[in-house]
């Protein structure tokens, strides 16, 4: 556990007045408040630090203790004992901590060691704090994102069951309201944000709601036409191949692509690229036939 210089965090010196503390805190809070910096983990960390610094420096008692024992925080308990003999008020009044995401877990070990976390004067005012928002990443395979399904997650040792709608995109985030950190003093719980990371090990490539795949076609079917069976994410389909199909030609199977997010029953298209296979290891007879063909 290392010493934290709360003055440095707020960019003020030790002689700063409570007005200076408030002003410095407000300025930094406007810069780093999580509401103003969505998806920015660094800003959140900075905000927690300035909140903690403010919690200490805006409270007369805490500041006195910090100034006296800050560098020598291991002996802070002695301060507590001696304090019992002093006539002092337990509540220093109106200091304000911002509620953006503050919770007990947001305080450093240093703070907890010196001030015991949740017993701060700020909390005694029964300020309602919204719980922390949690961020989690969920890894899925492309095929898992094809159908709406339920999945059980463990968040902070608590099991929750969520429904993952078909068609979710790689990188997309969904919010599970109320499943973040617990609120303090009756404040609402935070939310759980789940970012999806979708790996694709299938033969299909996905671009938004469309799927793309390459189908090998033998030369004879390409030249003469015929019927082939192709895979889709939803099973196999029969497909007619027109005579004289050229290599790298494309066909589109409407509605055989990826489900459209939150539009049940609607799908993108499946785009097929034909890769015509030239026969190998020809027999003498086959070579002769091709030679004959080439002369026609």
């Amino acid at each position: 556990m290392t010493f934290i210089d709360y003055y440095k965090i707020l960019g003020i010196d030790k002689s700063a007045t409570s007005k200076d503390v408030k002003s410095a805190y407000r300025k930094l809070a406007r810069k780093y408040h999580p509401d103003l910096n969505p998806n920015d983990k660094d800003a959140k960390k900075n905000f927690q630090q300035i909140n903690e610094a403010n919690e200490v420096l805006s409270d007369t008692e805490k500041r006195k203790k910090y100034d006296k024992y800050g560098n020598d925080w291991q002996h802070a308990d002695e301060f507590e004992k001696s304090k019992q003999y002093q006539n002092q008020s337990s509540n220093s009044g109106r200091q304000q901590s911002y509620s953006g995401s503050q919770s007990e877990g947001d305080f450093s070990d240093f703070f907890e060691s010196m001030f015991g976390g949740a017993t701060s004067a700020g909390r005694n005012r029964q300020v309602k704090y919204r719980g922390d928002d949690y961020n989690a990443e969920l890894h899925l395979e492309l095929i898992d994102a094809y159908k709406t399904h339920k999945q059980e997650l463990t968040v902070n040792n608590k099991k929750i069951r969520i429904t993952i709608p078909a068609g979710i995109e790689n990188g997309q985030t969904i919010k599970i309201a109320g499943h973040g950190g617990l609120g303090t003093n009756g404040g609402p719980n935070g939310d759980l944000y789940i970012a999806f990371s979708i790996a694709n090990h299938s033969k299909f490539k996905r671009l938004e709601n469309n799927l793309y795949t390459t189908v090998d076609l033998d030369l004879y079917t390409a030249v003469l036409g015929g019927e082939i069976t192709v895979d889709t994410l939803n099973g196999k389909v029969k497909l007619k191949v027109s005579p004289e199909t050229q290599n790298a030609s494309k066909v589109k199977l409407k509605g055989k692509g990826f489900p459209i997010y939150k539009n049940e029953g609607q799908f993108g298209d499946l785009h097929i690229l034909y890769n015509i296979l030239i026969p190998k290891d020809l027999t003498d007879k086959q070579k002769a036939l091709f030679t004959e063909l080439s002369k026609t």
Binding site: R26, A29, Y98, N170, K205
Partner: protein, 99 residues
């Protein structure tokens, strides 16, 4: 109109210790929508989170209404750009896989 998923503005203001005039100003600037039923004001539950955020801007960060409007607009843009980045990243991934 149903009030099942709504909370009375009066009740909300008491709970959050804020003035009704603030909610009214937010409505006038189009930052939130108010449902009026028989002269009573209600806020839909799906707007509560946004409203709580606006309250934090105003009461905790001391940002005035004009500032809140600007920030809200910028946050919408950030969100839209964030979604665009996801789309572009997925598009890039698609073409990288094709190589």
């Amino acid at each position: 109109m149903q009030t099942e998923n709504s909370i009375a503005v009066n009740e909300f203001c008491i709970k959050h210790d804020i003035k009704i005039s603030f909610i009214s100003s937010l409505q006038k600037t189009g930052l939130i929508e108010i449902i009026i039923i028989k002269d009573s004001w209600f806020i839909n539950a799906d707007q509560l989170q946004q409203l709580e955020k606006l309250i934090r801007f105003y009461y905790e960060l001391n940002i005035n209404l004009e500032g809140i409007e600007t920030i809200t607009h910028m946050l919408k843009r950030i969100n839209s750009m964030h979604n665009e980045i996801i789309t572009l990243k997925n598009r890039l991934r698609f073409y990288e896989l094709n190589e």
